[in-house]
């Protein structure tokens, strides 16, 4: 069965879009799109991915070619989807699955709600904060405080990203909230170790995916993507820092 070029571009582009939207590295998106397009019968595939868009050109055996482009605006982090699309491309390349099935599965991956809902991720965030306080040699009260601060930060992130969608905002507000919680507890109970609470509170805001992807993009030579993801990480760190600065400045009043 010969799959038309438009269909090949459609499935490969959808796969690339899903991966990029959910936090995959640039080279992984490019390679996956190439593997999928080749598995569907394209002779030559060129792809170009930047953190905000996907470009794809496919050639078939009769020298026709098709270029298409997907703009990616909203980005989240869902590594479950990345790993599922990755697996699908392997299965497609090994011919263990047909084109139509693969397209349906991709659509399903794109739309399904995977992973954990708000309450588990708030608890997870709290655990990150509490355990960070443990590593800072804090006492039981500080550990609880850091747990509460990190939990609140995650809730703020959820609310702001629902209403607004801009990442830097919730990182700034989250940093400020963590600092204010630490300051408040230190004012109420003067023997509290304020610093451990704030460190725990801002830990869930560390831009882990942006940092890792920046490193791995630069590693394989995708300098453009590496630079912009590094910039994203730096901006996030800056936003959290400024939030904490303002929160701490309140304590000096």
């Amino acid at each position: 069965m010969v799959i038309p070029l438009e269909q090949i571009a459609k499935i490969a582009g959808l796969a690339g879009e899903i991966m990029l939207k959910n936090g995959a590295e640039t080279y992984r998106v490019e390679e996956t799109m190439e593997h999928i397009a080749k598995a569907c019968g394209a002779v030559k595939v060129e792809s170009f991915v930047i953190p905000t868009g996907v470009f794809l050109t496919v050639h078939d055996s009769s020298e026709r070619m098709l270029t298409s482009m997907w703009r990616v605006r909203a980005r989240t982090i869902n590594l479950d989807r990345v790993s599922k699309v990755n697996e699908l491309s392997r299965r497609l390349a090994d011919k263990r699955i047909t084109f139509n099935d693969a397209y349906d599965i991709l659509h399903h991956i794109d739309l399904e709600r995977t992973g954990f809902s708000l309450v588990p991720s708030m608890l997870a965030s709290g655990v990150i904060g509490g355990t960070t306080a443990v590593l800072q040699n804090a006492g039981a009260f500080e550990i609880l405080g850091a747990f509460g601060a990190a939990l609140t930060v995650r809730y703020i992130a959820h609310v702001v990203s629902r209403r607004h969608g801009v990442q830097i905002t919730y990182e700034f507000i989250g940093g400020m909230a963590a600092a204010l919680i630490g300051v408040l507890l230190a004012v109420l109970y003067p023997e509290t170790n304020r610093d451990a609470i704030i460190i725990g509170g801002i830990m869930p805001l560390v831009p882990g995916v942006a940092i890792t992807n920046a490193i791995r993009d630069v590693m394989v030579g995708d300098l453009l993507s590496g630079l912009s993801r590094g910039m994203e990480a730096a901006l996030t760190a800056m936003a959290v820092t400024m939030g904490v600065v303002i929160g701490l400045a309140v304590h000096l009043l």
Partner: protein, 152 residues
């Protein structure tokens, strides 16, 4: 105390996995990677090593373990790298920088900030170096079997 810290690191890495929506059955591996990374870092500092060297060695261990697990479980290596390096993040140093700056001790703040940046750089380059070398070795040993080279 050490046991408590190891348990804390395990829970921290697994929680990062939940936060970034990593497939559920991989959460245990995430915790394991985090503990290995942190233990390498901790042992180095306990043996009298500089914190920068300790974080570098820790993230080298992280890169190797993550790439090996990625190949073994056929999953993207990022899934193991992200939760693994969070326990190394110099949160205490970064916060000390902010505190010095806010209190007006700019000289202390700049020197602490430099330390933070160097630690961050050591972590980044540790992952960079170990992943690159791991790939070189694997690709070299798979040169006859070109199909699998470069994938992970």
């Amino acid at each position: 105390m050490l046991g408590l810290k190891i348990a804390a690191v395990f829970m921290m890495s697994a929680s990062i996995g939940i936060l970034y929506r990593i497939p559920r059955r991989l959460l245990f591996y995430d915790g394991l990677v985090g503990v290995i990374t942190w233990l390498v870092m901790y042992t180095t500092t306990q043996a009298g090593g500089n914190i920068i060297l300790a974080d570098f060695l820790g993230s080298i261990a992280l890169g190797v373990v993550a790439e090996a697990l990625a190949r073994f479980l056929k999953k993207p290596a990022t899934i193991f790298i992200i939760p693994g390096f969070i326990p190394l993040v110099p949160g205490g140093e970064a916060f000390a920088t902010i505190r010095f700056m806010v209190e007006g001790h700019y000289t202390d703040g700049v020197s602490m900030g430099m330390k933070t940046i160097l630690i961050g750089g050591a972590i980044a380059f540790g992952i960079f170096v170990s992943s690159t070398v791991y790939r070189l070795v694997i690709n070299y040993s798979m040169e006859n079997n070109k199909e699998n080279a470069g994938k992970s």
